[in-house]
Symmetry: C5
Subunit: 78 residues, 5 copies
């Protein structure tokens, strides 16, 4: 997994039907921005744990979701 910090959110009104409704967060990972689906309700500035690839899509069991980056946890502060 990779660790990143939430920096914003994106919206996509024009989208394919199988993209689940939910938050698409911008996450900074060591200077690179990726967009991850967030099932946990994370906020800007939060440190999160992200899984990628087909493993991320596997979270969605009823649909074949085109999601290749998923927030799976919020990292506890020390």
């Amino acid at each position: 997994m990779i660790r990143g910090k939430v920096t914003g959110r994106v919206w996509a009104t024009k989208r394919i039907d199988t993209l689940p409704v939910g938050s698409l967060l911008e996450v900074d990972v060591a200077g690179t921005t990726i967009i991850a689906f967030d099932p946990l309700g994370c906020a800007e500035g939060e440190d999160v744990l992200i899984t990628q690839g087909s493993v991320a899509a596997g979270y969605f069991t009823k649909i074949k979701a085109p999601v290749d980056a998923l927030i799976i946890g919020s990292i506890d502060e020390n």
Copy 2:
């Protein structure tokens, strides 16, 4: 997912049979160019959301499409 900007389109007349008919767009992602299949009819200059790997191929349900990058949404302007 990753975010990119559409910069052009490519055509491949000589192709394998299972490559679906449809737009193959050039997308700039942080300075790197990738080629993504576009089911949404995006235009040059549009900011798009791309999913990659086997998750992208999963969009095609009737054929085993050799597509590892798919545009899944057009990012709304702020």
Copy 3:
């Protein structure tokens, strides 16, 4: 696989239900940090072997775990 050195551990109290209970270790891989699930009980400073992607998730046979990085061995010292 990739080789890395364990540098710490992270905790995520707020997490998705399918993330297995167990150690999530920070591993330095050539200057980049990744977070890997550790079924072996490795310690800080240990050199480990990591597998990634859906292959990592395949280790978990009873659940569909959102784990894309798994420690599969501890590298013997020369």
Copy 4:
């Protein structure tokens, strides 16, 4: 997908049994060389479209081919 230019060919007489017979081309992709299986008969200097990962292996339907990079098209000149 990624775009690259064919720069050469490699032969591997000592190989695992499941590697299909066929061309293994060296392709330059933005300064990096990858080796892709070529079912289209591409020539040196040709600009090609490559798909990667399990999507590439999915092209082979009768065998479980260990191919993670496949040429799926030859890019038309403008």
Copy 5:
């Protein structure tokens, strides 16, 4: 696939049960080291062809092996 040169071997006595017995070789790929499973008996200094990801794991048909990098051929000298 990627091309690399064998530079050494690693041993991992402490390992998960599903990691197959066999050589784990260090391979230099354009300056980066990866560890690949070697079913071919390659030697240090040999140029090899490597496949990655779930495609590599697919080589193992009787077990669900946590192998994401596999040597599939030894490149012939010109």
